[in-house]
Subunit: 87 residues, 4 copies
């Protein structure tokens, strides 16, 4: 059977290059995402040291997220109605 590296060798140089670029882009984006996650954790740390209950804060934020998505849904629904009217 053909080994993995043999197979990789058969990829064109350009293809291999493209592959490397994709991986690099994804890894960079994931790195930034991980940094943001760390930042968020840090803020929660501050929140706690300030005497707030992080559990409640989390719940508030998740509630607001749901509210936002409800607004988005309502707008989407309204847009659909508008289209009906326009036609």
């Amino acid at each position: 059977m053909m080994s993995e590296s043999d197979r990789v060798d058969q990829l064109g140089q350009a293809t291999r290059e493209k592959l490397k670029q994709f991986i690099a882009r994804i890894e960079r984006l994931e790195g930034e995402k991980a940094e943001l996650a760390a930042d968020i954790r840090e803020v929660y740390g501050e929140v706690k040291s300030f005497g707030f209950d992080t559990k409640v804060i989390r719940k508030v934020i998740s509630l607001r997220k749901i509210e936002a998505s409800e607004r988005a849904e309502q707008e989407a629904l309204l847009d659909m109605y508008m289209e009906v009217v326009e036609d």
Copy 2:
């Protein structure tokens, strides 16, 4: 190396029986779930043949689902406040 069937043969009869029962239960439940999915698709078919726009209906239903979860979140938040008061 020991083949899969040899290995299965080494399971006790009772264990094998139990395994078959689990699989049967899951398959039955998944079958029922699939039936319900088919029923839902069918209702959307009726909806469409009735002249309603299924896209809108879907949006309405997802909005109502979000509303329900918002209510749940609000209750959870309220519960947390209540605990604070009780303590």
Copy 3:
């Protein structure tokens, strides 16, 4: 601008009633589907507490599903042959 509720008001009473019924039916079916999903999750819980590897069980079930659909395909094929013979 005409509000959404104004527009809904313009739907005939019967149409509105029908719409409500459709939504109610779909929501009921989706509720039942969600219950079954919960049941299935529960069975997997039992499976695990029984010492089986759920990952393997999942694979077995998906294989059996594929086999079943293959069988169905083969039967369909056989039916076609049969029709040819009959005709």
Copy 4:
């Protein structure tokens, strides 16, 4: 019973302000995080349209992540040794 808003009113103005700031910061960070997640999804879309198998790419990336953390572990170990030598 005291309403939620009554209770919030009892918080000092400064405290309330601080709370709002924390929530705003977290929501902003989460927004950016969500954008990055969308970007990543987009890149995977490109990957696919380029003819690569995303499953394989994902596996490569997760392997590289593990390798990176192994390297980090080894460096940490090496640092420990170095400290011992230095002391």
